[in-house]
């Protein structure tokens, strides 16, 4: 099975993150940039499917030059190769334009299965699988907590608020996964060394047949008008329990009219 995993480089969600003041995009320059955590589960799932059914795993990333670090990191887990869509004109692209570019890249990769994380930890927009499915005319099985591959038939358990849905589709298809689906492996030393030699193909917008005017700020379908940091919460009251902590807590709730 030919599997493509979408990997996005994001600013570390465990640190302070900001938007730039000059063009309102995510400040990646000052951030510690890492693989979107959710994508590691997608990579793991792809490797497990390859181990069980054979095939090839390709990483697909759209991002600036520095995303190369995340691509090598992804490859060190075990995928075979990577495709890096990189073009200066992409800076400032909205989700709709991003989906256009990724769909064009997927069009060249001939995947049976596209795997991705359920969301990126920076935007948390969750729209990419269905945007891509809409453009490519393939099925999107999203929010999988379990994925079963049986020949060309895919079955997922999709977490919902009431429980879960069992959803099936035939390949080619896009599946997004939650972090409950597996436990991503750590790259081995051997994997890290091997990753340095794995092929990474770079594609420009011209290679994909997408015009520069359709992406970036020029082609964006939405715009940030302004942004500000939320003021930090001012310190509240902190008491140490000396036998009446529970009662004091309820007294606070009562003054706030919760009891």
């Amino acid at each position: 099975m030919n599997i493509v995993v979408l990997v996005k480089q994001v600013p570390d969600s465990g640190a302070d993150r900001n938007l730039r003041t000059d063009d309102n995009t995510v400040d990646r320059g000052s951030a510690n940039n890492v693989i979107n955590e959710m994508d590691e589960y997608a990579i793991e799932e792809a490797l497990k499917i390859k181990e069980a059914h054979g095939g090839e795993v390709t990483i697909l990333t759209m991002g600036p030059d520095r995303a190369t670090e995340s691509i090598r990191k992804a490859l060190s887990m075990g995928p075979d190769k990577a495709v890096h869509v990189m073009d200066d004109a992409l800076h400032g692209s909205c989700a709709v334009a991003t989906s256009k570019v990724l769909a064009a890249a997927l069009g060249q990769l001939n995947a049976d299965l596209v795997l991705c994380g359920s969301e990126s930890t920076d935007g948390r927009v969750q729209v990419m699988p269905h945007m891509l499915a809409e453009r490519l005319g393939v099925a999107a099985l999203t929010g999988a907590r379990k994925l079963t591959v049986d020949g060309a038939t895919l079955t997922v358990e999709r977490q919902t608020e009431e429980g879960y849905e069992v959803v099936t589709a035939s390949t080619p298809a896009i599946v997004s996964v939650w972090d409950t689906i597996n436990e991503p492996r750590y790259p081995s030393f051997k994997g890290i060394m091997a990753a340095k030699k794995k092929p990474v193909q770079t594609l420009s917008l011209a290679d994909l047949g997408v015009a520069a005017g359709e992406v970036g700020f020029v082609g964006a379908t939405s715009a940030v008008v302004e942004h500000s940091k939320r003021p930090p919460r001012s310190g509240g009251t902190k008491v140490t329990d000396e036998g009446s902590g529970g009662t004091q807590l309820v007294e606070f709730l009562a003054t706030e009219k919760f009891v």
Partner: protein, 319 residues
């Protein structure tokens, strides 16, 4: 006045979800609210009363197996056709997984911008969003097409404005490519009578400090006394104390209740990402240096196994 389409979010158990009422409230400021019900046969009739009570002047219904039997895509096709026909002033959906997914397909079908996690929307289409775990407030606009936004639960206070809404049945014209992802089963998992986590006015959440799965009954008891939902930190979920669908945080649900009570939760960034826009935050933790206290309006440093039962007893006394 132009119509504003509100794509209804509802569950079999609770009926119309609160976020839908919030969307109808927002829609009234922008134009004439029309609710769009997408579901199984008879779905709209069951919801019409509530939707009218909150100001829906019209209800569009797309019902049946073609809608209910597949993931998302047929719903997006129906809404896209409706948008082309009525040319609404805006389209509002819930910022849930499904709401975002329908919106995603609409954005591509209509070549239209999309804004998610919106907490406010003005008549000129300027949306307020919260980003980066609630630390950044963003004002943004759709610059191509109409405002297509997904609204986060607990963003506005729903207010009623009773009307009588007429129901118009829509023809479902799903294409073959809309029917690729087939729902073969829906399994309800035990949940009890508590409110849904993202919509609850009160959330009581437990963390690693709760110690084990059995002790979560303490968290549940307090939640029930306060009429709230139960949440759990990632540490608690990863340790198997509580099911994943109740996880609050960067890789779980984002909640914004009136009251968030954190029990035995240290307040790692991962967790804060999912709850720091809560109106009032109360924390109980044995470590006085835990970062959760930086957010807490009221914090108690001490043993939650002493403090929580005492608090529960005190609430019972006052009832």
């Amino acid at each position: 006045m132009s119509e504003v389409l509100v794509v209804v979010e509802a569950t079999a158990e609770f009926g119309v979800k609160k976020v839908t009422l919030e969307m109808l409230t927002i829609a009234r400021e922008l134009g004439s609210p029309s609710a769009v019900v997408l579901g199984g046969a008879g779905a709209a009739e069951a919801l019409a009363g509530k939707l009218g009570e909150y100001g829906a002047e019209k209800i569009y219904a797309a019902e049946g197996d073609e809608i209910d039997g597949y993931l998302v895509a047929p719903k997006a096709t129906v809404v896209a056709d409706l948008v082309r026909r009525v040319q609404p002033a805006a389209v509002l959906l819930a910022s849930s997984q499904e709401g975002k997914e329908i919106a995603a397909r609409l954005a591509v079908k209509l070549d239209n911008g999309i804004l998610t996690d919106v907490v406010g929307l003005t008549a000129d289409g300027t949306a307020t969003q919260v980003a980066f775990a609630g630390s950044t407030i963003v004002k943004s606009k759709v610059t191509r097409g109409l405002p297509l936004v997904t609204v986060r639960p607990n963003s506005v206070n729903p207010t009623s404005n009773a009307t009588t809404a007429a129901v118009e049945q829509l023809t479902v014209a799903a294409t073959d490519s809309d029917k690729l992802a087939k729902v073969v089963d829906r399994v309800a998992e035990q949940k009890g009578s508590r409110p849904e986590l993202t919509e609850a006015g009160v959330v009581v959440a437990g963390g690693r400090g709760v110690g084990n799965a059995d002790n979560f009954t303490l968290v549940e008891e307090l939640a029930d006394l306060l009429g709230g939902a139960v949440g759990a930190s990632r540490a608690a979920v990863d340790s198997g104390f509580y099911p994943h669908q109740f996880q609050v945080g960067q890789t779980g649900k984002t909640v914004s209740p009136q009251l968030y009570l954190a029990l035995g939760i240290s307040g790692a960034i991962q967790h804060r990402a999912g709850m720091q826009t809560s109106k009032t935050i109360v924390a109980v933790n044995k470590d006085g240096e835990a970062p959760i206290f930086e957010l807490a309006d009221f914090g108690v440093v001490g043993d939650l196994f002493k403090i929580v039962p005492q608090a529960a007893e005190e609430i019972r006394k006052r009832k």
